[in-house]
């Protein structure tokens, strides 16, 4: 008996589903109902207006005229909507759908129709993206959902040999969350293929998404697939157990992250220094004492001078100039740009924000060059 054939069953089910869906898409009947409703309202208002006019109720008549004109406008726009050309997707023939299902067997090694679950399933080959083995996936078209959702959400993607991200057990693929595919650029082509009954094309498009990695928009980046490496101790951590250092911008494990005792910013141990007699561990913005001699100094000046007071900076400057000459790198960086000669000293504005860097001047900036000479001299 042919009707026992699951492929034939699937084709018939698809035929009915897509027929219903195409009727659903066609809102002509709905628009016509709306116009009929507005027409009845128009008739009723016209009768009432005749009554109010005949009895000389001017106020009521004026109100009714406004309502009548509004109703006439609704009828007019409703008729225009009815006359608008509609792109109703062609209803695919049963033979076409059988051919589509036949093509699935040519495109995929494993195809399975599950009548009880109302699903058509194919299995991909094992997928490896950026050297991360993700295993094979089952792409499953849910026919009951297809009746109301002619788009990628009618598909489920289920990992067959899951290798989920270390940081998110729900992500077996960078573009799959749970069993939902985020089709990205394939969203429109998949919806179009489904609405036209091109089932094999829709499956191929889902497969194409699974075989592609878009690092700019992934649930979990493949570079972090096996966990995030702590920059300090090198331990691999679960994505939820990684902490970001505000100072250097790197990721650290819970053992290697700390915070500034004064501003509470999250910082790694390398970005903190001891400051003061009580041994507070602080960021460079909160330092109150010179990191070399321990002398209390102006907070802003310390920040601009890499934690050094004026005296220690002056001691360090000649070495720095030599280093800069060797490295052939632009110098300044908020150190040499600050005048250290008392005669040239200009008070820094008191309202300057504490957590703001001075712009790094270009290497050939004559102002910096002169400052450099002044500070080194």
């Amino acid at each position: 008996m042919r009707n026992k054939d699951p492929v034939f069953w699937a084709a018939v089910r698809l035929y009915r589903t897509l027929s219903l869906a195409s009727e659903h898409v066609d809102d002509l009947a709905f628009a016509a109902t709306g116009v009929t409703h507005d027409l009845r309202a128009l008739e009723r208002l016209a009768r009432l207006l005749a009554v109010t006019d005949s009895r000389g109720w001017r106020g009521a008549a004026a109100t009714l005229r406004e309502r009548l004109q509004a109703a006439a406008g609704r009828v007019q726009s409703g008729c225009a909507e009815l006359r608008r050309p509609r792109a109703v997707p062609p209803r695919p023939a049963l033979a076409e759908l059988l051919a589509e299902l036949g093509q699935l067997h040519d495109e995929f090694e494993q195809v399975e129709v599950r009548p009880r679950e109302g699903r058509i399933c194919v299995r991909t080959d094992p997928i490896t993206l950026e050297d991360v083995p993700l295993g094979a996936f089952s792409i499953e078209l849910r026919l009951p959902r297809l009746a109301t959702h002619l788009d990628a959400s009618a598909f489920e993607v289920i990992a067959q040999d899951p290798n989920p991200a270390a940081g998110s057990s729900d992500s077996a693929h960078p573009h799959v969350s749970g069993s939902s595919l985020c089709a990205g650029e394939a969203t429109v082509p998949i919806a179009t293929a489904l609405s036209e009954g091109r089932i094999a094309d829709a499956f191929c498009l889902v497969s194409a998404v699974l075989h592609t990695y878009n690092p700019a928009s992934a649930y979990v980046s493949l570079s972090d697939w096996n966990g995030v490496t702590c920059r300090d101790c090198g331990r691999s951590c679960h994505g939820d157990d990684v902490y970001y250092c505000d100072g250097c911008g790197s990721d650290y494990c819970d053992s290697c992250i700390s915070c500034c005792d004064r501003c509470d910013r999250s910082l790694c141990l390398s970005c903190l220094d001891e400051d003061g007699e009580q041994g507070d561990r602080v960021c460079r913005h909160c330092r109150r004492n010179c990191r070399r001699c321990g002398t209390a100094s102006d907070v802003t000046r310390l920040r601009l001078q890499r934690g050094l007071c004026d005296d220690c900076l002056a001691d360090e400057a000649p070495d720095e100039e030599d280093d800069a000459a060797d490295a052939d790198e632009p110098i300044g960086g908020g150190v040499l740009a600050v005048p250290t000669d008392p005669r040239n000293h200009t008070e820094l504005p008191s309202h300057e924000p504490l957590h703001e860097e001075l712009p790094r001047p270009p290497a050939n900036d004559p102002v910096v060059a002169s400052s450099s000479l002044a500070s080194s001299g």
Binding site: A183, P189, A191, T212, S217
Partner: protein, 74 residues
Amino acid sequence: VQILFVNNLGGGFADHIEVPEGTTVAQLFEQRMANSDASDFLIRVDRLPAAADQVLHAGARVSFTPLKIEGARR
């Protein structure tokens, strides 16, 4: 000759188009998918794999489906 052309890239539309008699699959790809590499596409004529020099016949169903499409996060 008139063929059914299915472009699964971008809008993913299917349309009946007119092509000169003797047009090959490679020529159609060149016309319709400029700046794309044929090796990045699944090319089917009447649902079957096709050779580049295969001549298109009237009523042929030609589909170009990309092998790689970027997904997203949501």
